[in-house]
């Protein structure tokens, strides 16, 4: 059974069967990553452009590796040194790249909706690798896959997303995906970082981290994005770390064996203390490995949809 769409723009509205299929497919690819020869010929002859209008290290490398593991031809385009600096519009850049006969575009962009816009101007499969503060679907898929592998299920789980919800594309994709898969999602963070209408999405809002730890089985800790002026939304990093940072003391106090995820990169000593970032509750590097498998699954399922 194929996916119901030829693009992956976000997890909003993506049916449960599709998410299930991606997670199951990722599982078969995950096994390949542990082989001595980590390459399959599945997407041989397909050309995939990684169009990165915003800097990224891990997501770009993860996609690129996934593409290479599937034997696709991967081309990287990033904002520096491109025609963008010559004043070319996004549309013209994409039309030019498309004219070189490509099959899929993985796009990261600072503007929400940029991947949706691409579907209107270009025929390739479009995969959203993060658009503004909108969605980052492959991150949420790899989070869900990692949770499912560690706990054995998603349905019925209580998951809290902690941090700057208002400026996080990871949060929104996780909320949509987890809810579709039957988890109960809450968010926790300073009220200046919680979108005004988030409760209308069926999400509980908590402002006390101890409560968040006690009430949930999974904690997805988001990065404080200092580069996006996150510092304007709370008085100081010290205060954030004190009231919203996860430390061993806090975990011990609440006596919980909670599973901790983090999409990286970590601000050590801010949202996670170093002990927690390297401790036994977290699965941060496990997520990173799974990320390649998830992206292989998405590329494979979209690339073979026709």
């Amino acid at each position: 059974m194929p996916l119901s769409s030829k693009h992956l723009l976000g997890l909003h509205g993506v049916p449960k069967e599709d998410i299930q299929l991606i997670l199951d497919t990722a599982h078969t690819f995950r096994e390949i990553l542990d082989r001595p020869i980590k390459k399959v010929p599945t997407l041989q002859g397909k050309t995939i452009v990684n169009l990165f209008y915003e800097s990224s290290t891990r997501t770009r490398i993860s996609f690129e590796l996934a593409e290479k593991r599937l034997s696709a031809d991967a081309i990287n385009f990033s904002i520096s040194g491109s025609s963008v600096s010559k004043g070319e519009t996004f549309k013209d850049t994409v039309k030019n790249i498309e004219a070189m006969k490509i099959d899929m575009v993985v796009v990261r962009h600072s503007a929400a909706g940029a991947p949706a816009y691409l579907t209107k101007i270009c025929d390739a499969n479009i995969i959203n690798a993060g658009d503004g503060i909108h969605e980052h679907p492959t991150q949420a898929l790899l989070d869900m896959y990692s949770i499912r592998q560690r706990i054995g299920k998603i349905e019925g789980l209580k998951v809290c997303i902690l941090g700057d919800i208002a400026h996080s594309r990871v949060a929104l994709s996780n909320i949509f995906g987890l809810q579709t898969m039957g988890a109960k999602v809450s968010v926790c963070g300073p009220s200046t970082m919680i979108p005004k209408n988030i409760k209308e999405l069926g999400v509980d809002v908590i402002h006390n981290v101890d409560e968040a730890i006690q009430e949930n089985q999974v904690l997805n800790v988001l990065r404080i994005q200092l580069e996006r002026n996150a510092g304007e939304y709370f008085p100081s990093i010290r205060e954030y770390a004190k009231y919203f940072g996860i430390t061993n003391e806090r975990l011990d106090k609440n006596g919980k064996d909670i599973l901790i995820l983090h999409p990286g990169p970590i601000n050590r000593g801010v949202e996670l203390s170093s002990e927690v970032a390297d401790g036994s509750n977290q699965i941060i590097l496990y997520q990173v490995t799974n990320g390649v498998a998830i992206r292989m699954a998405v590329l494979y399922l979209l690339g073979t949809i026709n």
Partner: protein, 430 residues
Amino acid sequence: MKTLIKNVKLIHPEEKINLQETDILLNEGLVEKIGKFNSDEISNTQEFDFSGSLVVPGFFDMHVHLREPGREDEETILSGCNSAANGGFTGVACMPNTEPAIDNAEVIHFIKKQSKGHLVDVHSIAAATLGRKGESISPMAELAEAGAVAFSDDGVAVKTSSVLKRAFEYANMYGLPIIEHCEDDSLSKGAMNEGLNSTFLGLPPLPSVSEDIIVVRDILMAEYTGGRIHIAHISTKNAVGLVREAKERGINVTAEVTPHHFTLTDDAVKTYDTNTKMSPPLRRQEDLDAVIEGLMDGTIDCIASDHAPHSIEEKDSEFQFAPNGIIGLETAVGLSLSELYHKKKLSIEELILKLSINPRKILNLPVPKFSVGELANFTILDLNKVWTVDISKFKSKSKNSPFDRRLLTGTSIATVNNKRIFYDDHWYNL
């Protein structure tokens, strides 16, 4: 030359005229006689048979951006006037955010020159502050003398309260209103209205309180200085409530609303169509309901399009990076008739007040009369014509409208003014 406009209904709410079936005889563009004529009574006239149509005082759009001087690729005064005539307007007031801004008499003279002889009257709204920078007030006396009908920094509100106070005090000497684009600069960095949709779409949110705060400030300043404040493109429930309350308290405040704010909500943004991006942004259903209520109870005095042409290349981009605004001159009348008249929110008389009479009064302009000897200044309406918006047929140089392909009921079929008639895509001299 004599011209006979035949078989029309005639409504003028101010002059208490309501004729069911009549003819109008014009002589050199002036009203000569109103009544039924036998065909042998008159000879040597050009005739327009508008059976079943309605003649009303010419509509006036008090909020348009004509882009000239500065962005003639998007609109010129000529193309904007053609767009107005095609949309049913015989007069417009253009906003000063041109390049250079309308902050000196020379620009007003230039606009007058460019629009001279056109069917559509063009009046200039001058900048309230020099270069619209909000730092010091513009030469208001000179601007008023040159013909400015109001002052505004439209695009933004007058930046500081101290400059606003001076602007009110100074403009008041000439009896001219300050028109305010009510948005708090520090809260207006978002790309769409803050709400569930902005969360869903991941677009930077712009809270409605941004508008409300400036509406409060401006109303209080108008009260304090005794000046006249006109709230441009009102869009929030709270702002409507604040204007209503201010009017009850006797403060000299008026307000306009755009057709898009009484037709669309922020649900329209869901496709990331940049033609749904404007300032103020599309709001929620409760705001839309409130502006319609405000139109019905008289809180909102007029309908203005905020006609804002933008080039295709600027609008065809990522939503966040696209400029604000849509064109509106050629859809305003159709939307007003469809959404307000046919949905029984406003009577035709009320609609005429809001599209013709009130905007002129706010700007101290004479209201067209139907009396003998007056210059014929009419909009001719077919209230029931069902038509589909087709932006490729617009006279505007720009095509940025979210209403393309929309089915509307009611339209203007002709405009008459300045001894000319525009009908069926032709210009006739009268």
